[in-house]
């Protein structure tokens, strides 16, 4: 083998990948961070602006709204997805006839373009033509009608629910893969010792699924910071930026308002925030294990 492992082969074969990766992933991140310290409107040259963009974040109302919305989506999606996808995985892991078919159907939203996911849910949540409010009207529960999207309050919660719908089957599949890795004799031993179903889950399955649970958690955390199309389609961040998330706000500042420096400071902040939350999460879980 090693007479083929010549240096020139190694370098020659590695360079195309390293080049594309550097030019289109690594350098862009550096550029983004760089722009975040400038004032730039796309015309002329970017002007060095020090920390002003970051200071502006703190006094920017819309920034706080989008941070709050992002956190609402994050917490709600995290709780819903982690618990329910785990429970559904436990259910579908039983040998039920049709479980595979059900799994395939539940997975399907994850493969649809997110932009279409947004469109689909407009027809469910829209205050006027959406099915929810119309059903509430039809059963005489009009008092429960709300502006699920496009109002002032409910949009981030609705986004979390849509995201939940999109991701459920995907995470269920990952949990089932984790469940399959638990050796059967461990569960049998618990059974013989007289553990109830709940006890088995609490004392055997959850502890043995630690890695899978943290994988799923990290997927939810990073996933929430990639939600974009759903918000664009359902509310467009409106009304008055009230349903903006960090990602959509950064996008709109960059590409609609052409405030590139500020947009990049938002993007950088969002990027660092998602890394920090992931970091804190893995720290906590590691400490628990130790």
């Amino acid at each position: 083998m090693h007479w083929l492992s010549k240096r020139k082969y190694k370098i020659g074969l590695l360079i195309p990948t390293l080049l594309v990766y550097s030019v289109f992933i690594v350098i862009p991140i550096i550029i983004a961070v760089g722009y975040s310290f400038t004032k730039y409107s796309g015309i002329g040259k970017a002007r060095f602006y020090g920390l002003s963009n970051y200071i502006r974040l703190f006094s920017d109302k819309v920034f706080w709204i989008s941070l709050k919305n992002t956190m609402i989506i994050f917490v709600l999606a995290f709780v819903l997805l982690l618990t329910i996808s785990f429970l559904v995985a436990l259910l579908l892991n039983n040998r039920l006839a049709g479980a595979d078919f059900s799994k395939a159907l539940v997975f399907s939203p994850a493969i649809i373009a997110p932009i279409i996911v947004g469109i689909i849910w407009v027809y469910i949540l829209d205050p006027n033509i959406g099915i929810i409010n119309n059903v509430l009207d039809a059963i005489g529960a009009s008092s429960l009608k709300h502006k699920w999207i496009g109002g002032e309050v409910f949009s981030p919660y609705s986004i979390a629910v849509i995201y939940f719908w999109q991701q459920l089957g995907y995470l269920v599949t990952i949990f089932i893969a984790g469940l399959k890795m638990i050796p059967g004799d461990v569960l049998e031993a618990a059974q013989i010792d007289g553990a109830s179903g709940v006890q088995k889950v609490r004392y055997v399955i959850i502890p043995m699924m630690r890695t899978t649970i943290s994988t799923v958690s990290v997927l939810i955390i990073t996933g929430v910071f990639k939600i974009f199309e759903i918000v664009q389609q359902t509310t467009g961040g409106g009304p008055n930026h009230l349903s903006e998330t960090l990602v959509t706000y950064s996008y709109s500042m960059t590409f609609s308002s052409s405030d590139y420096g500020y947009g990049m400071s938002l993007a950088t902040f969002t990027f660092i925030l998602s890394l920090v939350i992931t970091g804190i999460y893995s720290r906590i879980t590691r400490e628990k294990e130790a």
């Binding site: 279409i116 689909i120 969002t270």
Partner: protein, 276 residues
């Protein structure tokens, strides 16, 4: 061991969950046969006839042949480029000898790091770089798509290539194979299953991708499918029926694709997550 009653409850919950997840799709299908005024005035009513007007309108407004064509075009070029370059680099990282093992690990780690990078921080800088390189229109999407696939492809390819026994290479070399023969005629054919997963996963990614497309594509004639889907927001200000029908024409091929390649899709999506 599970009692009958318990089993019945489990079935009921399973059916309920499945129905709840599938319902939004079915609802779209129902709406697509209703006229726009019916959708607006009586949202809950069922269509009286199989009215295909919405589909006709959608076909009239959106040039589906072009949208599918553009998507297909970007997809093929991106896939060819990414497969060639990541196969090369993964081959080096998985099967060649490094005097400095740390270097090998470092390069691998560097390439895998991309899995945790959100595309949104890249949009504007990549747009700038494309302008600088003179890349415009749908071609401007190729390098971003290739670059964002590198981490995933490396993860899968290196993992798989490492699992092939090194005796294969030795035997091939003794038989007089050069490095190109070894890579293309011996190793590549064995890599088919993982390449299939990579291809299918990336096809789906490019098919659905919106953020990069929305930034790079200015000209309607360059639009890919996801851009087409967002396009009718402005065009049909009130034509909800047209939007539904267009969405269905994008969803159905995807669901068929999913039906055929379900195993590879699920494998790709979970492998990227679990191993990453």
């Amino acid at each position: 061991m599970v009692s009958k009653k318990k089993k019945t409850i489990m079935y009921l919950i399973m059916i309920l969950i499945t129905l709840v997840v599938v319902f939004p799709f079915l609802w779209m299908l129902v709406l697509s046969f209703k006229s726009n005024s019916d959708i607006l005035s009586s949202p809950l009513s069922l269509p009286k006839t199989l009215n295909l007007d919405n589909y006709k309108n959608a076909l009239h407004t959106l040039d589906f042949i072009r949208l599918y064509g553009n998507t297909f075009f970007v997809c093929i070029i991106s896939l060819v480029v990414e497969l060639i370059i990541t196969f090369f680099s993964s081959f080096v990282l998985a099967r060649m000898e490094f005097r400095n093992k740390k270097m090998q690990k470092l390069i691998y780690g560097f390439l895998i790091m991309g899995l945790s990078i959100s595309p949104f921080i890249l949009l504007f800088p990549v747009y700038k770089i494309n302008v600088l390189l003179g890349l415009r229109g749908k071609i401007a999407l190729v390098f971003p798509y290739v670059a964002t696939s590198i981490s995933f492809n490396t993860l899968l390819l290196v993992g798989y290539l490492k699992s092939l026994p090194s005796e294969i290479d030795e035997a091939a070399i003794i038989d007089g194979c050069g490095i190109w023969d070894l890579m293309f005629r011996v190793i590549l054919p064995m890599t088919k299953p993982v390449i299939a997963t990579i291809v299918i996963f990336n096809v789906l990614y490019i098919w659905n991708e919106f953020p990069f497309a929305s930034v790079m594509l200015r000209d309607v004639s360059d639009y890919t499918l996801s851009m087409g889907a967002s396009f009718f927001k402005g065009t049909y200000t009130v034509d909800y029926g047209g939007i539904v029908a267009s969405s269905i024409m994008i969803i159905i091929p995807e669901l068929i694709f999913y039906g055929i390649f379900q195993k590879n899709i699920v494998e790709g999506m979970t492998a990227g997550a679990v191993k990453g």
